[in-house]
């Protein structure tokens, strides 16, 4: 243990003293936060240039309501209620008579105007839009623009047209305004957490509203931090061990320490570096969220699990990487082995969406219990707003401990044999030989 400790201290100091460590410590949160900051900046810096449209209303019903809605929008909605500052674009609409004879030519001419950026888009409202049932009815609302799929403005037109159509339909039924409102009232579903009992006071706690932040952001951020910690500490083991092998440092040390002690000293050094980073990020995150009054977002009960799983995950991937590093002779070998080595960390990244969408579903539950994926997937599920049965993280942890013991054992065997062998290409067959035949 003393020798592992001595190796650990050297590894740790060598890693944290480097410029790249300090830079990554600062850069990574900036990059992570940068995405969100960019989103907020984009929200606050909307394009306020006027947008020009042409509307061809085949129904003849929507011209007046649209004009009214445009007037309200352009004179009130696009200005800040307190400062009066213009915060959104005005929509300038030219209403054009439909050219029934030359409909295609009209569409082409308007498309050209959009292409030349004279217009932002043109809209066609179908003739039978009010009562779209029945055969051969032409009920449509078409929005022609260069990027119509991403163009959120089309929803403004959709809302105005549909709201007015409903009002007209209500009027046709001779309903007054109050009845019409009653008829058209729409209720949004609210996502709620569960009602709990405070363990200290014994009082029943009200269920809290869940939101996107809680159900997506928290698991996502924890996953990213874990991924980053593994990338930072376990992945460099490969090149570091390869370098020590090629520069013959390994043999000098192997006169004093066993291959297992050597490998563990290195992997523990990696864990130390990761825990330092994690402690800094988590502390900074907790302080920031407290400062912003968003402390409810901090998944306090998940954090111990996060740390335990992260340590085991780094041990699992790190020992594998160190063993693979011992089999490499040059950068080419290292490149070809890095990808399979980091697969346990990468695969869960592709499964974020289905796991977060249904954290207790069969897919998420099964993957969370497969040891190489347990650390990331289990923590992601635990940090989501649903409650995971308590046996799952415990069983997952036992699985991870067993699997990690196995990878460390296999890793040490490969490491022991491969570290002194020069010039042998690391193939699956040689790895198998090193691991099981020595």
């Amino acid at each position: 243990m003393y020798k592992i400790w001595t190796l650990f201290k050297r590894e740790y100091r060598a890693a944290v003293k480097t410029k790249s460590f300090i830079i990554s410590l600062v850069l990574v949160p900036i990059m992570m936060g940068g995405g969100f900051a960019a989103m907020i900046i984009m929200e606050n810096n909307k394009d306020t240039d006027d947008k020009h449209f042409v509307v061809i209303d085949h129904s003849g019903l929507m011209t007046a309501p649209l004009q009214k809605a445009l007037e309200t929008r352009n004179s009130v909605d696009i200005f800040h209620s307190h400062t009066g500052e213009k915060i959104d674009a005005a929509y300038v609409v030219e209403f054009m008579e439909p050219d029934i004879q030359n409909q295609k030519a009209q569409q082409l001419a308007l498309s050209d105007r959009v292409e030349s950026q004279e217009l932002h888009a043109f809209i066609e409202i179908g003739p039978d839009i009010l009562h779209p049932t029945g055969e051969e009815k032409e009920a449509y609302l078409k929005y022609y623009s260069q990027h119509s799929f991403n163009d959120q403005i089309r929803y403004w037109f959709q809302n105005v047209v549909n709201n007015n159509l409903r009002e007209i339909r209500a009027a046709e039924l001779n309903l007054d305004e109050a009845q019409a409102q009653d008829l058209l009232w729409w209720i949004n579903v609210e996502g709620m957490g569960l009602v709990t009992v405070n363990k200290k006071t014994g009082e029943q706690q009200e269920a809290e509203k869940t939101n996107e932040m809680q159900s997506f952001l928290v698991p996502y951020v924890l996953l990213i931090i874990m991924f980053m910690l593994v990338m930072m500490s376990a992945i460099p083991q490969l090149s570091s061990v390869m370098e020590e092998k090629n520069e013959k440092i390994a043999e000098v040390l192997l006169g004093t320490v066993t291959p297992f002690q050597f490998m563990m000293g290195k992997v523990m050094g990696g864990i130390g570096v990761s825990l330092t980073t994690a402690a800094i990020y988590v502390t900074a995150g907790v302080f920031t969220l407290n400062y912003m009054g968003m402390e409810s977002l901090i998944p306090m009960e998940v954090l111990p699990w996060f740390f335990i799983y992260t340590i085991l995950f780094i041990l699992m991937v790190g020992s594998g990487m160190a063993a693979l590093g011992a089999t490499c002779n040059d950068n080419k070998d290292a490149q070809s082995l890095t990808f399979p080595g980091i697969l346990p960390a990468i695969i869960p990244m592709f499964l974020i969406a289905p796991i977060i969408a249904d954290p207790t579903g069969p897919l998420a539950t099964t993957i969370a219990l497969i040891p190489p994926f347990t650390p990331t997937v289990m923590v992601m599920r635990m940090a989501s707003s649903v409650t995971i049965p308590m046996w799952q993280p415990v069983v997952g942890l036992i699985g991870v401990i067993l699997y990690t013991t196995f990878t460390v054992w296999i890793g040490a065997r490969i490491f022991r044999t491969a570290i002194l062998i020069q010039g042998q290409k690391p193939t699956f067959a040689t790895l198998y030989k090193y691991a099981f035949k020595g």
């Binding site: 043999e251 000098v252 006169g255 320490v257 002194l420």
Partner: protein, 303 residues
């Protein structure tokens, strides 16, 4: 008492038999020289003693104990391929190696050895700033810093200039005086002759020589002549009783055929030239090495 006892050790790499049924006893407090051509099995033997590799067969005792998979304590090891962390400062590196080897009184020991090997001025410099020879000296300090009782040096003199090689030789002898046992492999036969109490030669994985220099030389008898004459090597042309001539220009070293009489050769030479030196002697270690590992011998062994 023997500090190391190898008996019937063999090691194969794939189809290559690197060490073949090797037995060896290294007495405590001795200097044991390992010689042999490149690829003969010296380094593999040393690695097995160090427990870096494990023999396929045979037993290996250090201080009377089989250490299995544990590391030997109180041993200093300088491998053939030197390797140091380039980014570490010299002082820190020595501290690290000293601690790893559980050395005591490290700061004082580090200062003493840096001073002794003329590296004191570099203590706070990084390893990468040192020349090859300086790195070799630094690695030597890292090997002996913890005052080990067994010191194993694989080619300790390679790459050193004569002054530094001499300095290292003095230190090795000093360490022996203080009670350490030293095993070193070398290609420098003169150094081995001068320093070693025992010499062991391995060739194609098999032990071919083992014993004191006298003992080894006695096996070959007085079959060597060293001659200096006015005619040089020309005087020996067509001379009977000579197996081979090693011509050094000013001096010719002659190996006699079995049963040849040196007095007859001297008489023949005196007829044709003036002799300034005529010495009947035992073969040098260098000569013995060449006799064993020469191409003719290789063919003989291969047959």
């Amino acid at each position: 008492m023997n500090i190391i006892e190898l008996s019937g050790i063999s090691k194969t790499f794939g189809s290559v038999l690197a060490v073949n049924d090797l037995s060896l006893e290294v007495p405590k407090g001795s200097i044991y020289g390992f010689i042999g051509p490149n690829g003969s099995g010296k380094t593999t033997t040393i690695r097995m003693i160090m427990k870096i590799m494990y023999p396929d067969r045979g037993t290996l005792l250090v201080n009377g104990q089989d250490h299995n998979f544990e590391r030997l304590e109180n041993v200093g090891y300088l491998p053939e391929d030197r390797g140091l962390y380039k980014k570490m400062k010299i002082g820190e590196l020595l501290q690290f190696h000293g601690k790893l080897n559980k050395g005591s009184d490290l700061p004082r020991q580090i200062n003493y050895w840096l001073e002794r090997l003329e590296l004191k001025a570099y203590k706070d410099k990084k390893v990468e700033t040192l020349s090859k020879g300086m790195r070799q000296k630094l690695q030597f300090i890292a090997t002996i810093l913890h005052q080990p009782e067994l010191i194993i040096l694989d080619e300790p003199f390679s790459g050193l200039d004569p002054i530094n090689a001499d300095m290292m030789k003095d230190i090795i002898l000093e360490l022996q005086e203080k009670g350490a046992t030293i095993i070193f492999s070398t290609h420098d036969m003169a150094m081995a002759e001068r320093m070693c109490d025992y010499i062991f030669m391995i060739y194609k994985g098999k032990k071919v020589l083992d014993g004191t220099l006298d003992h080894i030389q006695n096996e070959y008898g007085n079959d060597t002549l060293r001659i200096q004459s006015d005619m040089g090597a020309n005087a020996l042309n067509g001379m009977k009783g000579i197996e081979s001539i090693n011509n050094f220009g000013q001096l010719q070293e002659i190996r006699l055929e079995e049963g040849a009489d040196p007095q007859l050769i001297l008489a023949e030479l005196l007829k044709i030239t003036r002799i300034s030196k005529f010495e009947i002697t035992k073969p040098s270690l260098n000569d013995i090495f060449i006799r064993i590992a020469s191409p003719e011998r290789k063919e003989a062994v291969n047959v």
